[in-house]
Symmetry: C3
Subunit: 133 residues, 3 copies
């Protein structure tokens, strides 16, 4: 069974923390031990695990990605959102997180972020939980 | 069981869409619900999920990666293909895709691409399907 | 069950090969066919699969990442390790590797590397093995 998280983004580039929403799905599943997969069904958005304590970290990552794939450049794709496609391909569309004792296993500083690179939009994220045998 | 897709690339950098080949393996497996893993056993190639409708998107991603890891630079590795190794490490060697109702679950614009960064070569891609219990 | 590999890093940026340690866990598990997941519970370190034959390749990747996320830049995060967070988000926190005939399935040139971007530190890496049914 695939669970869906609906996400509304409000600006062009936005890193929205979704750790709580993923945790809720894991806890509701009742799975004690297994693997949680997170997948973004979009081509101009991504999912990242990084620091959630200081929001400046996500800001710095977003700003550096703007330098890596600059907004105004000679791109072929006519829609004008090639930088968003490039950033999405660098950060990636899925994450794998372990489940133990009924909880997501994340490091102290780790949070899960939905990364919008071509907002604002209505987006979704898919979550699948597979229990150990 | 691991399925193998053989891929021939024809130029130095080439993004070849393999969605159909992966779909065929999923459908032949008869698995209705599960997870499909794709893995590239090479160090100068990668696998990416991004837009397949407009081929300009893959061209823009490839071109930007050429700026991120320029061909002529002071690299140590004597074989001259360090940019290919760098690009492969950024795009990544594996993907996780859900299976539901016997089909790969991909967003409308998403396609799976084998990314050649040091061609032309004979390459392969491994696919593993794990059914839900 | 989650296995833990303890890793000590000795410099700021260090790519430490851990293929042998992961292989040992796979072999001890007795699993003949399945999937091995590797996860880094840190936000300034990552895990990469790339060439292990010539150590210059990892050096070139590390050096290029220093150009992609330069050490001295206008970052917001006050701890001064934003480049490490950026690099970790680009390389990624997890890997999926197939197991067949009781062995990790890796290409000839592929090795698994723990990527330290903010060392020296005491780090850990988590490994989970899921057997096929």
């Amino acid at each position: 069974m695939i669970h869906k998280i609906n996400i509304n983004t409000h600006t062009r580039v936005e890193f929205q923390e979704i750790t709580g929403a993923v945790r809720d799905i894991v806890e509701s599943s009742g799975v004690q031990s297994g693997v949680c997969y997170v997948f973004v069904p979009h081509t101009t958005a991504a999912v990242m695990i990084n620091e959630h304590a200081d929001p400046d970290v996500a800001e710095d990552i977003a700003a550096q990605l703007d330098l890596i794939a600059p907004r105004h450049n000679k791109y072929r794709h006519a829609e004008g959102n090639s930088p968003a496609h490039i950033k999405a391909s660098l950060i990636g569309d899925s994450k794998v997180i372990f489940i133990e004792d009924g909880q997501l296993v994340l490091g102290t500083w780790q949070g899960i972020f939905f990364c919008e690179f071509d907002g604002p939009r209505q987006r979704s994220l898919m979550v699948k939980i597979v229990a150990d045998k």
